[in-house]
Amino acid sequence: AAAGGGGPGPEAAGGSEELVLTPAQLIRSLEQAWLNEKFAPELLESKPEIVECVVEQLDHMESNLKRAKAGDLKVSVHRMEIERIRYVLSSYLRCRLVKIEKFFPHVLEKEKSRAEGEPSILSPEEFAFAKEYMANTETYLKNVALKHMPPNLQKVSLLKSVPKPNLDSFVFLRVLERQENILVEPETDEQREYTIDLEEGSQHLIRYKTIAPLVASGAVQLI
């Protein structure tokens, strides 16, 4: 094919799920994951299948472009698209790293106490990074302050002192799949709880905690 024939439908197989996405759907999934990660107060499930497949697509396209004639208009169009996709991917990974650094003891604790079939919130590389970050922080605190403290004050529980993500934050969302009877908890003692239905395509402002499972399942998109 001419320079940069990306080709339709290479399969994107997941780990435990068999996902077959077209490249266009893959990029849409990446963008969804990016936006959700950006606006969610906690670190979301890691999406290794999406990240790996996007990197594969980008590498494949890059190697096609290397073989193409330089200065061809098509090449620059492909390059522009590659830059855009790279931006979303980098921003997504950076956003996750910021949250890992911010909530590191809780992230590690959650990962340690994860049940067998539950999806991981950290990729293997992120897990290694989080552990190293924790070890470095502990060493730093010990060397800079703790070892100079009286013996009974030389321990600090990072799990207790580092703030947890605030799952009660408000978030904006758009509904992708209709949901019924979502419970809205009252803000004050005078109010009563009530339920709402989420119509497809509608947009809402609501506390993250109530709709967290809907973000994980892809029924809503944070905006």
């Binding site: 339709p8 963008e31 208009l73 169009v77 522009m80 004050t188 003692d189 709402i196 395509g201």
Partner: protein
């Protein structure tokens, strides 16, 4: 989300261009575009349209809603109603800025259009500030914002959610532990 990021998303919207060059179908990762033939209109995403226009390889065709009469109607409707009117494009603000910035020569009455869109935006933002204020005062737990565009939500979003977070922290610290537990079921 930075305004530039909202604009990044808006750049995926399709717009019609009339190319002055030839190119056969391009198989991008995100989908196919073209083929391109001089003089024949074709749809491309805004990010490409703006780039081609800058390289003087095409002329941009303004979207149907980017028209003085239509925008006047919308502005008047917005001023009349208390609620938010549905906008012709979820990215009306970003697209207006991009297209008028790079292709104002292809858009008739560009200055009037700029003013009309700005007036509509100002009215909507005023309404949004009012409704955000009432949301916080009445301590609502939920709001439906169907006709708001991403740029509008984004402009007020961070401030509003952080303010609500602060209010929540202040409120839960005032209540003794037992009564705040009673809100959970």
């Amino acid at each position: 989300m930075e305004p530039a990021e909202a604009e990044f998303l808006a750049e995926k919207e399709l717009v019609t261009i009339v190319p002055s060059f030839s190119m056969d179908r391009v198989h991008l990762i995100g989908g196919d575009l073209g083929p391109f033939n001089p003089g024949l209109p074709v749809e491309v995403p805004v990010w490409l349209a703006v780039n081609l226009k800058q390289r003087q390889k095409c002329r941009l065709v303004p979207p149907a809603w980017m028209d003085v009469e239509k925008l006047e109607e919308i502005r008047d409707q917005e001023r009349k109603e208390d609620t938010f009117t549905p906008m012709p494009s979820p990215y009306y603000m970003e697209l207006t800025k991009l297209l008028l910035n790079y292709a104002s020569d292809n858009i008739p009455k560009a200055d009037e259009i700029r003013t009309l869109v700005k007036d509509t935006w100002d009215t909507r933002m005023a309404k949004l500030r009012l409704s955000a204020d009432s949301f916080v005062r009445q301590q609502e737990a939920h709001a439906k914002l169907d006709n708001l565009t991403l740029m509008e939500i984004n402009t007020i979003g961070t401030f509003l959610t952080q303010a609500l977070d602060h209010m929540y922290k202040l409120r839960t610290n005032l209540q003794p532990a037992e009564s705040s537990q009673s809100q959970d079921f």
